[in-house]
Symmetry: C2
Subunit: 338 residues, 2 copies
């Protein structure tokens, strides 16, 4: 039994592709593995009550229902989320953070909707215009963090610099070390790539706070020389998903070539371990940085175990008070005003 103080996490239990049953199963797994966790489940009250009736009472007692009027569709855009999303399960979960009922919110719903609703409901950290999704992935040395991952598909140089600041203050707060920071580009020479990236490179080179080391190409990202990669949300999404697809292809081929052999049998646990340690999808849950509060985005298609992992991450980041630490650093340090 953990002796930590209880932490309340608001969970949008309607937003995942797998529906509310998958989300509630994830809540059950998260509660079971963490005795100090409380969950505020945002969704359709009657439906959640019916499901909870089948739960052991000790677990059901640690869930409180936050009634919501509906759910945003998985492909909801920013405009329709702002127009019609106010009573949605996603907005209700975010409001619980704004009103300090919960220390963090988790949703597997539309990224565009989560970005605009979190911005509207929680407000932004000082000097930051737009939230960005950050996630870690494995490298040959340790791991590397990257942002943005799909929240902002087209960005200018100033937004790229804001992402660098967000990643910098988040990782400095988490690890007490200044992250070695790079801009993703299609060449490492200063003249390479689009105007916005070259201009961001010039601005970051002149910023004494950030340990900016230049451009990095997508293959070198996995070598481990970078702690933080800054990019627009389109490229970040392509990089992460391409690595996922390439690894899935390789695991499939390895399985096919080794199956049925003694060597295959011996190798299986080692390959499984490798798969789990490398596969980016194994680490579900990306913090939405830049808003005033802890918000975790889960993959829409996550499994119950994956969604439970995102809930656990929300609990961890809330306990660390990452958002508060970031706000303090952004206020304290002498960042250029935007």
């Amino acid at each position: 039994m953990s002796t930590s103080a209880p932490v309340s996490v608001a969970v949008d239990v309607m937003g995942a592709d797998g529906g509310s049953d998958l989300c509630l199963e994830a809540c059950r797994q998260a509660l079971q593995s963490d005795a100090a966790l409380m969950i505020l489940a945002a969704g359709e009250q009657a439906l959640i009550e019916q499901r909870l009736a089948a739960w052991p009472s000790t677990l059901a007692a640690r869930i409180e229902i936050l009634p919501a009027e509906g759910v945003l569709p998985a492909d909801a855009g920013a405009a329709s989320a702002l127009r019609r999303g106010q009573g949605s399960s996603m907005a209700v979960a975010l409001n619980a953070v704004a009103e300090r009922q919960a220390s963090a919110a988790v949703s597997a719903g539309s990224t565009a909707a989560l970005m605009v609703l979190a911005r509207q409901i929680l407000g932004m950290l000082p000097g930051i215009d737009r939230p960005a999704l950050m996630a870690a992935f494995p490298t040959a040395r340790d791991r590397c963090w990257m942002l943005d991952l799909g929240a902002n598909i087209q960005v200018d140089a100033e937004r790229l610099c804001q992402f660098a600041r967000l990643g910098h203050v988040a990782l400095t707060a988490l690890n007490q070390v200044r992250p070695r920071t790079y801009l993703l580009n299609i060449g490492s020479e200063p003249g390479k790539g689009p105007d916005a990236i070259r201009e961001a490179g010039r601005l970051l080179s002149a910023d004494p706070e950030i340990d900016y080391l230049g451009f990095i190409e997508a293959d070198r990202v996995f070598d481990g020389e970078a702690d933080l990669i800054v990019c627009d949300g389109f490229s970040g999404n392509v990089l992460l998903k391409s690595a996922e697809g390439a690894m899935r292809l390789m695991f499939g081929e390895i399985k096919a070539r080794f199956s049925g052999s003694l060597c295959g049998l011996i190798a299986r646990p080692r390959l499984r371990q490798l798969h789990d340690s490398l596969h980016p999808a194994g680490h579900n849950g990306a913090p939405l940085l830049g808003v005033r509060g802890t918000v975790i985005k889960s993959h829409g298609g996550a499994s119950a175990a994956g969604f439970a992992h995102a809930i656990g991450l929300a609990r961890l980041e809330a306990q660390r008070n990452l958002s508060g630490a970031m706000a303090a650093r952004l206020w304290a340090e002498d960042w250029p005003s935007s």
Copy 2:
């Protein structure tokens, strides 16, 4: 001994990161493995003559030197290539194609320089504004082609449609089957992604020639449902290099986990075979589509064997007269004028 008619390929022997020695070693390997190949070596005459003096006379007799005044730097941009590139080894190789001395040209020099010089020296196919690099990579079923791969970093909807047309006519000419064509995006729903991609999706849906099937995400690219992926050069470069880096990471981890074990010894040849079949870098050489003539871009950092592979590819495409077949189709078919 092959009985095919001899094919002459013009090779820029100065442009690779490994220098002229690597390029000439690649020429030697290519000539040795293909008795019907002739090479026109564009570069510094005295230097090439000196190297050829050490070759067996039967091989040296199949190389003709095209004297060039200099070499463009690896990071040469479009503007400096147009200003100072006219007498360079790259331009000399392209001129040999324009003047029909050679059936194809190969260079490992700057992509931006190759694009503008090929466009200027060879001219464009009907209805096409800008050349694009296309390459194949392995999937779970067979392989998939993608363009653009770095020649055009920012493109509008019309350019994306031109790339789709280029890939369509090239693959139809090569395989006699209409390729299943997708646009790379960060979601598969029609409302997802940047304006240019959504607009290109609308235009391609209305095009009766192209078998356009919608958006595809970067992980599904490796599943094998697509024959042709269309994207801007930045995203294409990120996708391919990310897959390369992820696979390199996996091979490194597998090696580390299996080394020293009997299972590792048994597995080694199978893993090597897998590496060679999957690794995108194993298939060096990308056709530059859209220009009037066959031009192959090699990786700047290719090995001698890799560069020899690119020379072999140039010979194959010249023999197939890919560029001529594409021109005929672009003239014949009722494409929307741009």
